[in-house]
Symmetry: none
Subunit: 415 residues, 2 copies
């Protein structure tokens, strides 16, 4: 059983809005064991939409479209589905009544344009939409089915959950499920993981895959099964083996972030962390302060750019900064202790570099970033890292910094 | 000239990450006058990727792929492009040297897996990637071209801007240009703008359009022309008229952010701003600290969650917070002055609310967020605003806060 999604709208193609519907639909289809193989985005052009749909409904058992069901001239999904399945477009008096009621309930005027929304391909099964003006429909074609939903996320989700998913389960006798479990790692690269678990990545059910993110790599175990219990039973031994091979590089599972894991450790130990950051520009503060439990574990963050701000904000000896420079291990050490005191915290973390550490065009020329952790009257130093550009470079530095604190709390050696 | 994008990766299909690359690529292609007609997402399956590419390179002049160039077994773009264009996959010794150098510069071990990244379809033009380990390439096929780029946004963007766009312009002799000029406004809503410039929004070349963002509305003038000079001449009178109608709501043009505009004003006046924030979670610190000139205009930011962190970090009377509550105008006033002193700044900005101000599901129940600006020994208060949920709510609060400082520096009344 194979499914695909076709999202319709020039605004999606031009990048004016980012499609979030497809990701959500993909997750929903997964839960009923329907494999999503493709998503396609196409603009508001009748011929191109029709062609895409004709091709899609041939190769996939289920095609779900979103968008193009509105009342304006650039809404063409109805026409395109009719053309792709060699049907007429028919006007449905009952549908018009439904739309009229929707407007009446809200005291909105109905325009002539809205009549268009009462059209549907001949023989289509109507999916009634009580939460919007765009009626949806399903069309059977050579044993396959096209289901057309509105692009408004709220309406689409409503119809998917209440109408489409139950219909698909029944229509295709779907009993199986797909379940994933993701181990989240830090401090080990994707290729290194790959070489440690190469044999496991060749399994077929469950499958094991990796995905690299800035500073962090996911190892995902995905299984097809008849039930949740069976899925769990198939995942468990593989997870156990992965954990044995990856050890304390694994900091969490599924949606858990490194900040979640670190905050959990801080709460368990009753400790509060403060931090000062330069080149990460407040992102570490954001990350920690948004984490559940922050009001007890996060004592505050200080964001600084440049020497003036540093000396004006924290009790750091000007002579020291003058001697070693802002981007130096010695300054990072002093800042870690100063910010610990400034926020009356148990631990003080400093991530210190100069602006060019992350903004320079040539990564190999970037000056290093320094990490220090002040704790119990002494300083733990992280390995200085050469800065990297852009958002991913920042994410990498943030993971290095938090993982250093995590490893300290767990009594592990710095990485 | 017709282009399409193929994004490759099971994690995209399963909705584990949302594709933002396509939107960015779409915008870039628009600037060189290349029409994007389709984007397709396909999982890590050699046969399916190959089929999609075979179909795509037939219907489109330019096919851009992202993803699947990594070192692990589920990275299959190289093989798929070769298969779709009936070529062999060849090992490129020079590419291997390049990858080896990349690792050497970073002192990382190169694994056996990385050898795979030195393969490319026979006859492919290599696009050298100095910022990552995934070499990219372009393959000509029956007068059309497939260009394969990494999925890591930072690397993809780097290669698009420096290599791919210039190459496409030359390869396809693209001469016409599309140019836009964007006036950026704050403090006035999209519908209010619409009613002031309704007649201008009916022009055909240039066109005038509006786009609402959290706390900020863009007015974009877009023109098609043969040359930059012609484009500028067509845009100028329309921009002048727009400025006459929108007055001091316009704070900047094109990519200039409100933080850019504010920092410019601070530098002109030789003033330094410090800030303390709760519900915006360090985002205001990030924004200001990332702005060019921050090392002279931004004295530092303090990010806090909850009363303990506030009282531990800033010199604010505990009694006052106890009496009025953390989310109160009185507390915001005290915090503004305290953070001004803590960072030895000329101006102190406080954006203070409690966590539920932004995280509650029902915005109508959210407690307000308070704005205070400490300056020259007195306090300027912004209008308290009811919190709003999510990322857009935060963006709205951030713009309100910075616009308050901007208007103060310009001698305008608070909005």
């Amino acid at each position: 059983m194979q499914a695909e999604i076709v999202t319709i709208g020039t605004e999606l193609l031009l990048g004016e809005i980012v499609d979030t519907n497809s990701a959500w639909i993909a997750q929903q289809l997964t839960t009923i064991g329907l494999n999503l193989y493709y998503t396609t985005t196409v603009g508001d052009n009748l011929q191109r939409i029709s062609e895409v749909l004709r091709y899609s409904v041939q190769r996939s058992d289920v095609v779900i479209t979103t968008g193009g069901l509105g009342p304006t001239v650039d809404d063409m999904t109805r026409e395109a589905v009719a053309a792709a399945t060699d049907r007429e477009l028919v006007f449905d008096e009952e549908l018009l009544q439904e739309i009229a009621c929707f407007f009446a309930r809200r005291n909105y005027p109905m325009t002539q344009n809205n009549r268009k929304q009462a059209c549907r391909p001949a023989g289509a099964r109507v999916i009634h939409n009580p939460v919007g003006t765009a009626p949806s429909f399903a069309v059977e074609h050579n044993g396959h089915v096209i289901i057309s939903l509105p692009g408004v996320p709220f309406e689409m989700k409503y119809l998917m959950e209440r109408e489409v998913l139950p219909h698909l389960r029944e229509r295709f006798g779907l009993r199986g499920i797909i379940k994933s479990r993701t181990l989240r790692t830090c401090g080990i690269g994707e290729s290194m993981i790959g070489s440690r678990i190469d044999d496991l990545m060749r399994l077929s059910n469950p499958t094991v895959g990796t995905a690299a993110h800035p500073g962090q790599t996911d190892v995902r175990v995905t299984v097809k099964a008849e039930s949740i219990a069976e899925a769990d039973a198939l995942i468990a031994p593989v997870e156990q083996e992965l954990r044995a091979r990856l050890g304390d590089y694994v900091y969490g599972v599924d949606q858990e972030t490194l900040s979640d894991a670190l905050t959990r450790l801080l709460l368990e130990r009753g400790l509060r962390l403060a931090l000062a950051e330069t080149v990460t520009h407040g992102e570490l503060s954001r990350w920690l302060s948004e984490t559940r439990g922050a009001e007890r574990a996060f004592a505050g963050g200080t964001t600084l750019v440049g020497e003036d701000a540093l000396l004006g904000s924290l009790d750091v000896p000007a002579g020291l900064v003058g001697q070693y420079g802002l981007a130096s291990q010695e300054t990072a050490d002093a800042v870690a202790e100063a910010v610990r005191r400034a926020h009356k915290a148990d631990l003080g973390l400093a991530v210190i570099g100069v602006e060019t550490s992350v903004s320079t065009e040539a990564p190999e020329g970037a000056p290093p970033v320094y990490f220090s952790l002040a704790v119990d009257g002494h300083i733990i130093r992280g390995e200085p890292r050469q800065g990297r550009t852009g958002v991913s470079g920042r994410g990498w530095l943030m993971h290095l910094a938090l993982d250093m604190v995590r490893r300290h709390l767990l009594g592990l050696q710095a990485n």
